[in-house]
Each structure stands twice: as structure tokens, then as C-alpha cells.
Symmetry: C3
Subunit: 666 residues, 3 copies
């Protein structure tokens, strides 16, 4: 199967979405000239072109795209060609209203925006396959073609009758029999027993809390239904373009698609990334998404979309100060990206995203943004040979699973204040601030290569995952396991005893008497065995230990005196349990201690606050996210690839500054 | 008619909902063994069993229930058998979508949760009657049968066309003619005159504020429509089980059902009660609901549902610390409960309420919860003979009326910050903190037995109620009347003059020039005649007095200098008026003063803060809701029924501690 | 064409809405007696009488209205007769559900409130025309008839299929061809190209952000569709009543109707006005609405509705303290009102607005409110000859445009924190506090009569408007232009360069690199050229100047050091640019400086804080909005018209006090 290397060929791809249908053809010439000036190597074309390519049903118009691809090819710019199926033309919804999604309450979601398709609609699928076939047949061998891009940010949910029928087929495949489905969904509760497949519906608007296993299966189904759309189009384009990799772009840390399942079906993993420039932890959020992208890809990945400045969908859309686009782009490269792209090349004059920034803004090329874009293109070109294809190696894995996300964030749980993404972010942040590079991994993945495995909180763990964890620790691994983990099985059934027996044995726990969530803003004080203390938030647990050691105890609230953090030697390894959410500094200290005990080491020691350090291949990236100049003294002798000279012993990073260092002699 | 004594027979019933259909039959044996260990006398079975009892339309399966009832009977455990009509099986909604409720905006409320039935649907009623007939015929004489339980927490509203037709029939009965209806609803306003019954609809989604009298009648109708469902099933089971009492469980202080009307149709009044363990005033909220239950029942009542720990439907669901379940259970007994039950016996592994606590939690019997449950069972068994059937006598009545609640909480009123339940709670709290035991009473009830009557705020008062109040005070009663009372008649028509003339005469008021609600967080300072002061919140009024005395005046804001609280001798009695909502301490002082002047006395004098005292029969219950140990010195000599020994002169109550004292020699 | 003078005939009209159908006819006699007592000259009748006038389809009943008009006429009270088409009877919605509006999500908006009509429904229009024809034929020559009042507070939006068809016709007229429409809406974005008119819909519920040009055109269309309803009825009544002016009442500063377009079609401009008595800036809000009404009318206007005390639709509805009704009524007169009316005469006993205050409250005539109403009637009667018809002259124009409001408040813009009305209010307030009288004007209006023109923020400016502004400044005018102005053209297309080139030239700007909105609560410090400083809120901009002078620079945040406020001599005039929203005092200082430089002068100099001064004709109104007594010393010698005596040199205004001064000898 083709992969990202087939597109990069030793370069870091640079460019963005290009929507020439918004502009007169005379503008295309200027575009290409400025793209070359900016160092653009690659543009994504056609993402929203369905109505232009097929303005009436079955009436195709490709001439303009022929001219465009030839123009780009002549200029040496590669094309990521998109199937336009994310946004069907109005005529489809008009002729076939059944292709439009229905909301939970049965009302129709109309055209007039984008993504108005029901993934289960046979008519939508038929029309999407047809336009894809046309595109692939015509351009599958075009010399400009670098990659195929399927659809865009898959994410539409639908509750219509066609979806219901499709959901039933999916459930038949998953559960086999109605009896199994009734068992898996626990329909004995609240008299929900199904006596006929025809009775089963998506979880529509209801009087009160809906069946959680039904909600869980519907989340799985929707991810799978969208993935079917993806794979159908993938198959078409791959048939016409052997050797050309195929991808689609995921939204960053997106709940709606099981990234592990999707990544297996993509030749290239591509993610979009939009941290808020106003967020002091935006860089860490970026690192998390980048680590996820690399982990999904198992190697280099593609940053498909980011913004040069403001987006348009936040309540307040702040632009990026000088240097921030460069800093965050190079951070992505440090964490494995071999392609740095933007939405979009030229800022739109019209439409819902006309205030979304672009490489070429409304005010034209004589603009700070375009100057920074051009400088970045040159730097990426310089870095390409040293970076492209190089691996990022992590000694730590953070376990992440969409199934647990879906099951754990349902209504009716102990606390609505806990959020899956927030918890993962807090644990990832603790490791990031200590300069540990972290992979994300599925709980059933092979963990043997990692010195440390952390679980922020995985409410749902399958039998396979539990056996995997047990085996990992037994053979010498170190596990730090967070609160409210191992509670439910794969169908959201509570494990006997409230927490799985294998996990309790692994952690040395006898019982959890009560989940004890904390009220909003509440804190519980804890004391470590060494007398130091910290506050926990969000959560606590009334634990009873079997043979675990107490590392910290609760010292305030109803649980005062009871264990809060425990440590348990198990087999050749060690298993920690953290029954509250420690404040950031305490979590950092705890995880860093566990990491070092397990033999994991940060990328560099002794960095000033705000500087991020990552190793990619033999290179060392230093990135200054702090508000001031920072001075770093990385041990060893280095060549500064961006400055193109021998680095000083003290590397000075201005605000938003970056150094890419290569060992002298390497 | 049978009553609760027919079920208790000298005991305090103890147990909870039991949903054996969620478990394999081998678990039933363990359940029964542990029930006996915990002192369970009674379980409620079948609440959500419709789909299990009638898995296909008309295809009944009772074998499992036969075996279960026999098993329970053999173990000496009584059964409250429920009709399963709160949660129809999916097949009903699938075959008959017209049985599903419709929301105000016309969208369908689907199955997949619970309570998805339209109370006006003929098909639903036919199916509910059929399963009820089957159950009653089969088990009406079963020796385990202790009580019938109809449906569960009736509460679904519907705006569908069948509801519209039913609403029209109800309106024809209430108003007689279209002319009367137009008059009652004031349809001259905004051109809403109905020229044909067929035009009348439930108050559906509209452009702006809807007709308040229509909303009021719709609230009445919905309560009555649900009550029709109840009485239809009640009639069926009573026919098969003469001598067996019938009940249904109300949600605590629930807006949706007129409790006074419902209580008349029930043999036993049963309420569910879920104070937040995290709420410092949870105990007072419990006392209010318990006082309401007792007042509805006119004697002992049944606590049908409470939780041993956390519930699952709050944003943050806090469990109960050690002792709290016992404390709150004995509080209910003190206030008249002869049955203490929980939702539910065994915690569910699946479904929407799997995190709702239970008597037997996920972690099994070797758990703090189960140990407390078992100890409580033993104590209730010991208390039974001294308590069961004993009356609680109150000298004070707090007037409460669903009609006024519905009419007074509509849109378009002077302030959306005022809440009926909040006001009632504040006034009840003032009396509760002074250890006055308070009944709740309908405004038209016989009040002659009460020394003091308080009205927190009754916006709507009928002519009958006004005459009742006048007669009560004239013959020597004391009334303390809160703000915004007596404004509307039974159809939400403003009384001439803005406040009913009878009430103005009773209170000694000439006119209310303006309702003067306070802004959020605003306070108005008041000064009593004796120079002390207090702050009022939420509300004030520009009053003009006739012959009332001024007890307190406003001293800040636009009304500075004008009367705030007045006192008016009337006939043989006295009528106070309180035109603002005094801060808690001031309201407590005011009501305690009025109570003592009227000859009402608290249960015990001189208790430390946080200790609640209630007399039931000759027993004195002391309940420590405070955070620390408390010492009480109740005058007289007492036997301590829980400790089973002579009580010390100083009764020491630990945190969450309870003493049940019986006069020595009684 | 008739105008307001035809109704006032030298008086200030005084009265309110009168809804006699809510009362028995015996009450009418009392009403008329009390109206005369209160000095009422004019009542508005019939606004919500459709169901009473046509209780069954086509079955008219006018007898009652005959009697009423004769009764009023006999008492010398004029009648503003309303067409009752704002609130169709239930029978219309019942027989013709297609006349009911549909919400964005396709659900029906039912009857049971008011305003439940679809402006595009042929059946609604047919029925509305018929009742209007009947009314006009019967009463068009009635001697009591003073004015016609069409409908009431037009405001209903609808998304139904009839609306869709009507919208398409409107679009065909506006855009001519489908190609033009596709271009105007930018349908190349997100594949929204329309291939057939039939595909076009109102902007219904969609998956994500909807097309902004479609939303803009739909706002325009809805205003026009409602205006068609108005003009159709206007034509009917005018045909029957030549010489009788026709009006409808606008909600205050109402987004839903293009006031400039509507005013052209009305004989009389009438507005409703409901400032919150609890709002310290209520008086300024009133002044803004009054200035708008006068500007729409181009002369005297009618205050159609206000409240004597509380309204009923706020979360907390505060009544008016003594004197406030008089103060705000005279403020309207000062700013050009020749009619002071209330909703409503007699407070309703029933219906959604029964807690809305009235001239005659629930508690009857022996009430503070009625006494104040009566006193006001006498004062207006006295003022009439001196005031009625007199002009208010303003030297300053504040540019205001509904198109820009609609286009600028859409989703997807740089900041959702910015609000059109809030910005206009802040700029108007700055001028109001300096006692400058300000007109509002359309951006394409003739500005030559104004010394100063201010633009708080006009995101959308047409070519005509831009040329108009340029010409105004070139020939010597002074413009102060606020942030985010001139960005989009008439179809919400971003102007080349991001800000229109003409405007940049006028302001002396080279480019705007980034819109830089501020986070909630954030402030940016600015320093004026003279060293003084101020804080900006909400917004800032990364500017690059051409030849403008820097008046103030940013001194904090990412833009520190860059220009914030600029000044640019252009032609004979001067153009300022203000790229942030200055705090109120700074904006007041800035605009007052610009005004004085431009030769504009306040009504009076040296007034104490809280006193408003306005000149109408030769009269000077002084209005005390402050919390205490205020002393004013207006230069010159004055007659005090309200006190009917020579004014002292020091005019003492009590709280809520007013003086109307006439130059001695004038």
C-alpha cells in the first residue's frame, strides 16, 4: 500500500486548501505565482467542488479542473485531489430530501451550510460514488496528482429511518441475535426489551435518560457508517491510481470517529489542528493532537489544516501574533508531521468562512501574514532532507480509546463535571511539561516497547485490554492508572464488584465502596507519604485496599484518612492507582517520578519553563512557548539547521523562537 | 377501604424496588438470603416488567413471576406488586406511534427511555388495562401480596391531537359552554376567542407568551388525565384484591400532579424522596416532603423510594457519608412514615440508572452500604411496635395548593425570580428550625384544629378559600399571610382591586399600588417597630393601609418609609401581612413569635443548632443534622428505644446520630 | 399625503390603547368618564379585535364598535382605529394551518398567543384584506376617526414553503438571474451553487454555519414581506379615508424591520418605548429611540406605547417611582413627539399581559398611578400650543443602517461579543452626555446639513454610501469613523483589501493586517498624543497607516506601539478613525472634541451631571435623570411653561423634575 513517503519524497509538503472555483480564472495565475513565491509544494483541490463539477444531476463539468491541474502541474505544484462528497449540491437535497440528515427530534437538517448528508442514505452513496468514479477516471493518472483526499471532516450524525434500517443491519452483524442485543443493551431495565428487529431505532428524542448501551452502539455505528462512506470512495480512487496514497482529514481529538479504526483504512493519517492563539496551553493541546496523529499513523503524518491567524467559529477569534504560525508549524514537524498545510490558500470574500484567515489574506501579499508564510516555506524546504520520514520515539504510552470516551461521557454518570478530553489533556500535559514524549495507544495494543504506561481514566476496558495490561505489568512494565477505570465491559455493563477483578488484583485494591465525585470548584486535600501535600479535584473514591501500599491519603472531606494514591508491586512490575485528579504540579511530579523509576527519560534535562523539547530522529527541536526570551544549554555539540551554523553552547530562543539542532558530525 | 395498616400490621415496612428480571434466576436465591439478612420485609416488584410480562402483543409470560412470588413468600417477604404501565415495551410505540407523547413543538418523544406514553391515548389505555387485568387476575389473591403499586412517578405531558381531543372533553365538563370557556380564559385578549370547540388545542409552541388560563387548565387537565389512568388501574386491581391497599408513588414536591386530588383516590400515600447529600438544607427539604406526605395521607404514609447513597441524575451525584441513610430514614419515621423503602434492592449493571446506589451495591454485601442497610433493618424492626400507626400532631398549618403553584409560576408575571417551591421551603424552614411541627393543608381545608396558619404566598385563592380564611381568623385563629397572595381567582382572573377585597379587609389593607419585585441579589432594608431590622429579598409592595398596624417599615429603596409587615386584629383573631421575603433568621423570629402568641409550642425547647425534634405519638425523636456531636437535655425521663436502655439526662448525639425517646412509664 | 399634524391639530395627543372588548359595556361609561378626567384626547381601538369583529369566518359583528366609537366621539375623544390583523382568530389557524408560521426547524408555531401569521400566506393576506376593507368602509368617515393604525409591532418570521416561494419571487426581482444570485450569495463556497430557482429555500435549520448572504437577503425579504402586508392594508384604509393619516407602531430599535424603508410608506412614524425603570441608562436608551423615531419621521412623531409602571416581559418587572412616567414622557416631547400614549388604558384582568401596567390600574382610579396620569394629561394640554409641530434641530448625524446590522451580526464573524445596538448605544450615549442633539441617518442620506457625522461601526457600506461619505468630508465635513467599518459590500462580499479602498483613502490607512477582537472582559490600554490615556474594549486592529496622523497608540497587548486612533485631513474636511471601542468617558471626550472642532455646540453648557438638555423649536427642555435635586443656570431669561411663571436664574429640578423653558419675549 502506498504511504505518505510516496507523496513527500524527502520533502516536507507545504501548502493548503485551494478553492479556485471562488475566483475568476485570471486570479489563478496570480495564485500560482504567489504560491511559488511562498514555497508552496502542494495544494488540496476540490474539497467543496461538487456543485461546480456536477452543476445539474449527472451533468459533469471538468474543463475548469483540467485547466487548473495543468496550470498547477506546469508550476511544479502537486495536487491533493479531493472527492467533493462532504457537501452535496442543493439539487441533491431538493430532488432527494431523504439524503438530508434528521436531527434527534426528527426535524430535517437542510442544505444551505455544509455536511448535509445522511451516511446511510443509498441515494447519497450512489451519487457520491458516481462523482468519485468520474473524478478518479479522469485524474487518476494526472501527473500533478500527489494524493487523494476523501470527503472532509466526516462528522454528520443522523437519526432518520434510513439510518434506523442501517443501524439494525449493523447491530445484527455485531450482536448476531436479538437475544444477544437485548442482553448487551440491558433492555430488561425500564422494559426496553425488543421483540422484533424492526422495533429498534437510533436513540431519538426521549422522555428521560436514554439507554446507554444503545447510545454507545450508535456512536460506534455512526463512526462505522461514515467509515463505510470513506472506504467506498477510497476503493474507487485506489483502483484508478495505484501507488497514490489516499487520506481524509480528521478533526483534532474528535469524538465522532474511532481514530484507531479509521487509521487502519487510510494510507495517510491527516489531521486538522486549530489551537486558540489566546490559550496559554494551546501548544500543549497541539502536542496532544500531534502525538495522537503520529500514534494513529505509526509514523509520519500530515497536518492537513491549520490557520495562519484567526478562525471564524470561536466566540472571539484572535489572530496569531508574529512568529506563532512558524512556532506551531515546526512543533508539528518535531512531533512527526511531514506535511504542513493550511486552510486555506486565499481568504474567501464570501461564505460562512470569509473571516477564517488564510495564507493570502484579504489585504493581499503585502501583509505580515504572507511574509511569515513565505519565510516558513523556505525553512521547511531547508529542513526537508534532514527530517522527512524520520521517526519520533516515545518511551511512554498514554492509553486512549474512543469506546471508553463514548461510554464514559454519557448522562446518568457519577459526575457531569468530568470530561474525557479534559482528563486526557491534563495527564498528557503533566508529561509534556516534563519533556517526556508520549505516544497514545489503544488499550489492547502491544505495550512491550514502553517503559511507562499511563491511563488517565478509562471507564470501559475490554477483557482483552485488561489481560493486556496485566501481562504488561507482570512482565516488568510500570502502569499509572487513574480514577474510574475498568468499571464497564465492552457493552457498558458494570463489571462484577464495580471494578474489574483483574484490575483490582493488579492494583492491590479490595473494593471501591463509593465513587465520590467532588462538587464544582471543590478540592480535597491529600498528603503524600513523605509529608508533602496536594489538592485533588473533580473526583475521589472510598477505597479499601488489599495489598497495595499507600502513597498518599485524603486529609480533608468525608474520606479523610483513607487512601488516595496507591502503589502496588505486581509480578516484575509496578502498578499505581490515582483515585483523584491531582492538581497539575502534583500530577507532573507523580508521573515524572513513575517515569524515572521506570527508566524513561525526558528529551533534555534542565530546560527553562515554557520551552518544549522533542527529539525526532537524531534532531533535537527546542520550541519557546513562553512569553520571553529563553536560554537553553542542551548537552553536546550541535549544528543549528535553521540558522545554518554551529550552535552556541547557550541556545537563545526569542519569544516564539525555535531551534532545530543536529548533533555535530551526525 | 383498605389502608396502610393493612400492609404494616404493626411493623415499619422495610425494603425496596426489586427488579429480578435484570438478573439470572440463580441470583434470586442470593437476593432472598441477603434480604433476610438485611431485615427486608417488603419488596416492590414489576414496576418495569411490561416487556418481560408481555414480550409480544398479547403474548403473556408469567411463569417467572410465579416462581419469584413463591420464592419471596416462602422467605416471608411481602410483595408490593406493581402494574408495569409506566414503561410500555418498544412494540407498543412501534405498532402504535400514536401512543407516544408529542412535545410542545409537535415532535415525537420516542421509546428508548421510560414514561413514553400519552395519557390520552385510547390504545395505551386499552393495553395498560389489559396487562393490569392479567396481573390482577393471576396474583390478586397471592399470599405474598401486600399492596398494589400502580405505574410509577406519573409525569409525562403530551400535546398531541389525541390529547387535544381529550382536553376538549375535559374543558367541556369543566366549563360547560364555549361561552364560559372564552370567559374563563379571557380570550377577548389578543383575539383568542374560540368559535368552535374543535379549534381548542393544548398550549403548543407559540410566537410569544401563551394564554395563562389555558396553561393553568392544561396543568389541571394533565394531572387529571394521569389520575384517570391511575384510577382505571386501581379499579381493576381492587376488584381482584379486596382488602389489599393500592398506591402509586409521587415524586417529591412535584408540580405535575395535584397531590390533594390524587391522595383522595389512593388507599396509601407513597412518596419518593431524594435530598442531595451535599445540601446543607437537605434535611429540611426532607422534612417538608415528609410533612406533605403525611398531610396528603392524613396519617401514616409510605416512603417508597430513597437512595442508600448517590443518585445518578444530578450534575454531581454525591454519596452519603456514614450514618446519613439511617438519619434520614428515621426522620421519615418521625414524621409519620410507616414504611422505609429504597430504589432499589440490587444495583443494576446496565441501563440508565446503573450508577444509582442501591441496598446491595455493585461491590456486593461486603460493603459499608450493605452493613448500614442491615443495621437499619434491625432498628426499624425494633421500633415497629412502638411507632407503627402512631400519629404526628401539628399545631400549625402551612397552606399549599397546586392551582396556585400552576397559576403563579407562569410567564409574564412580575418577577421570574420568585419560585413557588422556594418560597414554601423558606417558610417551612423557618418553622422547622424552631422545632414547630407543621402540616401542609389545602386553603379550603378545615383549619379549626390549628393554632396558627401560614401562607407563604398563594397567588390564586378561590372564593371558598377566602371565606375559609376569613372564618378561621374571625373565630380566633392567627394567620400570617405572605406577599402576592389572593391576587387571582380560580381562573387566574385578577381580583377587582388587584387583591381580593375580603383579603384586604382581613389584613387591614386599603390598596396595593404596585408589586415591586427586587432585582437579582437586591435587598431592601426593613425596620421593626422595636427598632430591630432585617433585610427583605425578591419582593416588596407599595402598600396603603386601612386599619392594620405597622409591624415593620421599609427603610431603603423607593419604598422607604412605607409599611412592610403589618398586623391586624380581626374578629377574635389576628392577621399578619408580610409584603417582602424576610431573610431566614427574620422570618424564623417572626413566625415563632406569631406561633407563640397563638399558643403553638415547639416539640422541645432549648435544643442545640442542627438538632431536629419531632414528636410522634408519645415518642420524641431527636435527630442530629449538624456537623458535630450535639448534647440535648429534653425535660422529663426517657427510655432510649434504639439503645434499649434508660436515657441519660443529657442525650449525646454523634454526628448523624438519632435518639428515639419514650417517656418512662408510658 | 396626510401627516401627523392632521391628527394633532396643535395639540399633543394623549391617551393609549383601549381594548373595550375585554370589559362589559357598563364599564365603558366609567372608562370614558375617567378618560376625560385624565385629559385623554385619543385612544387606539381594535388592535386585537379580529375575533370579536369576525367571530366566525366572514360573519362580521360591528354593532359593538359602532356604539363604542359613537360613545367616544360624543365625549370628544378621538380614535386611532386599528386593523386587527396582528392576531388572527383561532378559526383561521384551525381552518388554514398553512397561515401559521413555521420555525427554522420546520415545526409549527400555533395560535394561543399572538402574531401567529405567515406574511407570505395568500390566505392570511386575503383574510386580512377582507376585514380591513370591512372596517375601512364602515368607519372610514366616522367623525371620531383620527388616524389609522395598521396591525401591531410587525415581527413574525417564517420559514415555511409559502415563504420559500415568496422568497424566490423576491430574489428573482432583486437579482434578476440565477447566475446573479449565485454570485451575490457566493455559492461557490461549500458547493452551494443553485441550478434551479426551485432549490432555493429560506435559511432553515442546517448542520453548521449558514450562508451569510442568504441570511442577509432573508432579513431584507422578511422586512419587505411584512411591509407588503402593511402597504396593502394602508392602501385599503387610505382609499376610504382621504386626509386621515395612517401608521403602524414599530418596536423600539427593532432589528426585524428596515425603519428607513418603512418610514417612507407611513404617513406617521410611531414607536413603542419601554426602557427598564431599573436601568441607570434607561433615559439614554429612550433618547436614542426617540432620536431614531424623529429621524425616521423627518419631524414630529408619535409615541404610541409606553408603560405607566412595570411591564410584564422582563425577568424582573420593576414599576416606575413617582415622577418617572412624567419625566420620560416629556423627554419624548422634547425630542419631537407630538403624541404621548400608553399601552394601555385599563389594565387587563386576564391574558398574557395582565401584569403590564396601565393608565388605570387594577386597583382603580384611587391610585398613585392614575393621579400621575391625570396630572400629566393636564401638563401636555398646557404645552400643546407651544410645542406641537415644532422641529428639533441636530447638528450631528449618527449613521445607522439595518443592512449593516443584519450583515454584521451574523455567525462566523471575528467576535460574537460585539453587538450592533450596543455599539450604537455607546456612541449615542457619548454625544447625549455632552448634550449634543443627534439625528440618526442612513449612510446614503444627504449629510450636508450636519457639522459632524459619526459612524459607530458600519460593517457593510454600499458604493453609494462610500461615495456619499467621501463627498461629505471632501467638501468640509468632519467624520468620526469607528472600527470594523466598510468591510463588506451590499451583498456581504468582503471589499478588496479587506476594507474598501475609498474608505482607506479617506481615513489615510494603508492596510488592516488583522482584526484583533478582545476577549471577554479584556482591555487594551491606549495613549493619546497628549500623554493622557484610556482603555479600549471589545476590539482592536493591526493597522498600517498611509498618511493619517496618529492620535492615540496602543500601549498594551500584542499591538503595543501601533496606531489606535487616527486623524486625517481630507479635502476640506477631516476624517477620524477609532480602531477600538474606547471606554465611555474617553469616547465622550473624543466625540465632544471632534464636534466642537467641527463647530457643533451642545444645547446648553455647564449642566450638572444627570440633567439632559434638548432644544425643540425655541423651547429648552431640562430633564433631571439624576438621583438628587439638580440646579441649572441656563443663560438668558426664561418663562417656565409648566410652572406658568417667570423662571428663576437658577432652575431647581427635583429628582425626576422637568422644566420647559421659553425665552422671555419669544
Amino acid at each position: 500500500m502506498p504511504d505518505l513517503n510516496d507523496a513527500t519524497r524527502g520533502r516536507i509538503l507545504y501548502g493548503g486548501d485551494y478553492n479556485p472555483e471562488q475566483w475568476p480564472e485570471e486570479t489563478w495565475q496570480e495564485d500560482v505565482r504567489l504560491m511559488r513565491q511562498a514555497g508552496v509544494t502542494t495544494v488540496t483541490v476540490g474539497v467543496f467542488s461538487w456543485a461546480r463539477l456536477e452543476p445539474t444531476p449527472g451533468g459533469y463539468e471538468f474543463d475548469w479542473l483540467d485547466r487548473l491541474l495543468d496550470l498547477l502541474h506546469a508550476a511544479g505544484i502537486g495536487v491533493v485531489l479531493a472527492t467533493p462528497t462532504a457537501s452535496p449540491p442543493p439539487w441533491l437535497g431538493h430532488l432527494h430530501p431523504e439524503t438530508l440528515p434528521q436531527a434527534e427530534n426528527g426535524t430535517t437538517v437542510w442544505y444551505g451550510s455544509r455536511n448535509q448528508f445522511c451516511a446511510s442514505s443509498p441515494e447519497y452513496r450512489r451519487r457520491a460514488a458516481a462523482i468519485t468514479e468520474q473524478l478518479a477516471a479522469r485524474y487518476g493518472q494526472h501527473p500533478a496528482l500527489t494524493m487523494w483526499h476523501i470527503n472532509n471532516e466526516y462528522g454528520t450524525h443522523c437519526w432518520c429511518d434510513a439510518t434506523a434500517a442501517h443501524f439494525r443491519r449493523w447491530l445484527q452483524h455485531r450482536h448476531g441475535s436479538l437475544e444477544e442485543l437485548n442482553s448487551a443493551w440491558g433492555t430488561a431495565f425500564w422494559s426496553q426489551h425488543y421483540s422484533d428487529w424492526a422495533e429498534i431505532l437510533p436513540p431519538r428524542q426521549a422522555q428521560y435518560i436514554r439507554n446507554p448501551a444503545q447510545l454507545l452502539d450508535f456512536a460506534r455505528f455512526t463512526s462505522d457508517a461514515l467509515l463505510e462512506c470513506y472506504t467506498a470512495e477510497h476503493a474507487v480512487v485506489a483502483r484508478h491510481s495505484p501507488g497514490i496514497p489516499v487520506t481524509t482529514n480528521h478533526m483534532p481529538f474528535w469524538r465522532g470517529q474511532d481514530g484507531w479504526a479509521w487509521a487502519k483504512r487510510q494510507d495517510v493519517v491527516a489531521l486538522d489542528l486549530y489551537p486558540d492563539p489566546d490559550d496559554a496551553l494551546g501548544a500543549q493541546y497541539g502536542a496532544l493532537v500531534q502525538d495522537l496523529a503520529r500514534s494513529m499513523a505509526g509514523g509520519p503524518w500530515m497536518l492537513m489544516e491549520q490557520a495562519t491567524g484567526a478562525v471564524n467559529w470561536r466566540p472571539v477569534n484572535r489572530p496569531k501574533p508574529h512568529g506563532l504560525t512558524r512556532l506551531w508549524s515546526l512543533q508539528a514537524v518535531a512531533r512527526g508531521a511531514d506535511a504542513v498545510c493550511f486552510f486555506q490558500w486565499r481568504q474567501s470574500r464570501q461564505g460562512a468562512e470569509k473571516f477564517h484567515s488564510a495564507m493570502l489574506p484579504h489585504s493581499g501579499p503585502d501583509n505580515r501574514t504572507f511574509r511569515e508564510v513565505t519565510a516558513l516555506g523556505a525553512e521547511l524546504d531547508r529542513l526537508g532532507p534532514a527530517v522527512s520520514g524520520a521517526p519520533v520515539t516515545a518511551e511512554i504510552a498514554l492509553l486512549h480509546d474512543w469506546d471508553s470516551w463514548w461510554a464514559g461521557e454519557q448522562p446518568g454518570r457519577p459526575s457531569q463535571l468530568t470530561g474525557y478530553q479534559e482528563t486526557v489533556t491534563a495527564w498528557h500535559r503533566a508529561l509534556w511539561e516534563s519533556h517526556h514524549t508520549t505516544d497514545l495507544a489503544h488499550p489492547a495494543a502491544d505495550l512491550s516497547g514502553y517503559r511507562l504506561v499511563v491511563i488517565p481514566s478509562l471507564y470501559l476496558l475490554t477483557d482483552t485490554a485488561l489481560d493486556n495490561l496485566t501481562a504488561y505489568v507482570r512482565s516488568g512494565g510500570t502502569l499509572v492508572c487513574g480514577w474510574f477505570t475498568g468499571v464497564a465491559d465492552h457493552q457498558d455493563r458494570i463489571r462484577p464488584g464495580g471494578v474489574d477483578a483483574r484490575l483490582r488484583e493488579l492494583l492491590g485494591l479490595a473494593a471501591v465502596h463509593h465513587w465520590w465525585p467532588l462538587a464544582e470548584g471543590d478540592r480535597v486535600h491529600c498528603e503524600n507519604a513523605d509529608g508533602t501535600g496536594f489538592d485533588g479535584a473533580l473526583w475521589s473514591e472510598e477505597l479499601e485496599l488489599a495489598d497495595a501500599e499507600v502513597h498518599a491519603r485524603y486529609r480533608s472531606g468525608e474520606l479523610a484518612g483513607r487512601p488516595a494514591v496507591t502503589r502496588h508491586p505486581y509480578g516484575e512490575g509496578t502498578a499505581w492507582y490515582v483515585s483523584t485528579q491531582p492538581e497539575p504540579e502534583a500530577l507532573r511530579t507523580l508521573l515524572d517520578r513513575a517515569a524515572r523509576e521506570a527508566g524513561a527519560r525526558p528529551a533534555v534535562e534542565g530546560l527553562p519553563a515554557g520551552v518544549e523539547a522533542v527529539r525526532r530522529g537524531e534532531l533535537l527541536f527546542l520550541l519557546n512557548h513562553g512569553p520571553q526570551q529563553a536560554k537553553c544549554e542542551p548537552p553536546g555539540e550541535w549544528e543549528d539547521l535553521l540558522a545554518n551554523r554551529r550552535a552556541d553552547a547557550t541556545v537563545v530562543l526569542e519569544r516564539h523562537g525555535v531551534a532545530v539542532l543536529k548533533p555535530v558530525g551526525a
